[in-house]
Symmetry: D2
Subunit: 143 residues, 4 copies
């Protein structure tokens, strides 16, 4: 856990895998979005919220689809590099949360990519609804 500007962030290592790169050995930009989602998964798990019960919860009738995402790629990262990903909470609304993602080389403060992704709480009919209480509490601790 680290301070990233005004708020807290949750950090974990990201290993660049075979199959994550483009044909030239540089991380394929689409792979960063997978890493971002892993970031939300690890964030939830760390907060005691099992991702497999939160991205879709049939019992309580809610889901948490990603409705928007963006990322800027600042440095070429290569196969064999290891990154650390700092996940923070950028914005909380009644029905949505926006996560922030900062990618650094491991053991470095050099930013290599940064992005955002917004998830919205939906009910069984895919209509937006209030965030589940425990999720709201978990993300509030990171603002």
């Amino acid at each position: 856990m680290a301070n990233a500007g005004c708020g807290k962030s949750f950090e974990f290592p990201v290993r660049v895998r075979f199959g994550d790169t483009d044909p030239y050995g540089v991380v394929y930009f689409a792979s960063y979005f997978r890493y971002c989602h892993h970031g939300i998964e690890e964030f939830l798990r760390h907060a005691g919220l099992p991702p497999e019960e939160y991205f879709r919860n049939r019992q309580e009738g809610f889901g948490l689809p990603v409705v928007g995402a963006s990322c800027d790629f600042l440095k070429p990262v290569k196969y064999g590099d290891e990154l650390r990903l700092a996940v923070s909470v950028v914005k909380i609304k009644e029905k949505a949360v926006t996560f922030g993602f900062n990618f650094y080389y491991l053991n470095s403060e050099q930013l290599v990519a940064r992005g955002e992704a917004t998830i919205v709480a939906i009910d069984r009919t895919w209509k937006a609804r209030a965030l589940p209480e425990r999720l709201k509490d978990a993300v509030a601790a990171y603002v």
Copy 2:
């Protein structure tokens, strides 16, 4: 459609995409298994069986998971190459079908990879059951 030895095969082009290769620009071996599954998808669609109603059919209560797969990689295929994939039916049993996959360079008879994958019909409890009739008929036409 072409004759591949004793049986018929169904052919379609496979475009090597960004993200399908290893860091050195050569098709990542795991990508071939995705291509093989696309081969089954296209085979089913060609036979008038929509994949989304056959890999899992909630109404009729069956599924068709892959229970085994293998592939040999004979030539290095690069980003920018285009392949054609010939899908054939290797073996039909009461509850299972084994598909064969031959990958060639487009407009060439040079084999670059060949594999097999077996799907089994299961019921709602994941117990093996007889193949759905229409699937059985569709694959029988290719033996």
Copy 3:
């Protein structure tokens, strides 16, 4: 080819594949970014510029990495759905091009996702440089 607002766009079908979805059968948001890149690949190919000679050209010493991308996901698309992707050119600068991506259900005008991605021309040292002439001409025809 179609008119999308003020400019032209290049369109092609996108088949949602096994492995493109989340565990609930809805297209995983990271897959859209792969589709976007396929969009650039098809756009280049359509313009007579082989992607494998343009994303990285060792002979002429240039590359075209993606430096930023964003996408909004408006409708849940399911396994079995087929989309059409309209690729347009949003902005051309001396050293960069921004492509636009509109995803529709096939045979429909209903927008399901829309995004952007910017590629920058770099030289052998990863320094930004002027866009290759033929690329500049190809994208200019779409503004």
Copy 4:
């Protein structure tokens, strides 16, 4: 590290990720082959051989492509499950090594999948050559 029959094996956890499953929430069979490759990567790293210097070594002029792979899928594994992967060495030849992969539920002896993959040492012209000495020594310790 654990005994798997007659030889040693190297074990590490495999987290089933969003994007690793089929549309029904069960691990897509192609994902296991990615996990197998991660297994070789972790095996090499554990043996002090950085994968990024071994799968392709421009300086010493060798590569280690996968020339064949197979896997059987015994149990349906779901999003949210965690596995452990035991990597062993099945066979060593002058120019090739075959790795074995046993997948278990974490904290369980129940086998959910098992596979094999063979890598061959090649020179700059893609001709088979003797295994690099340090690799040969590393795998010999696991037979």
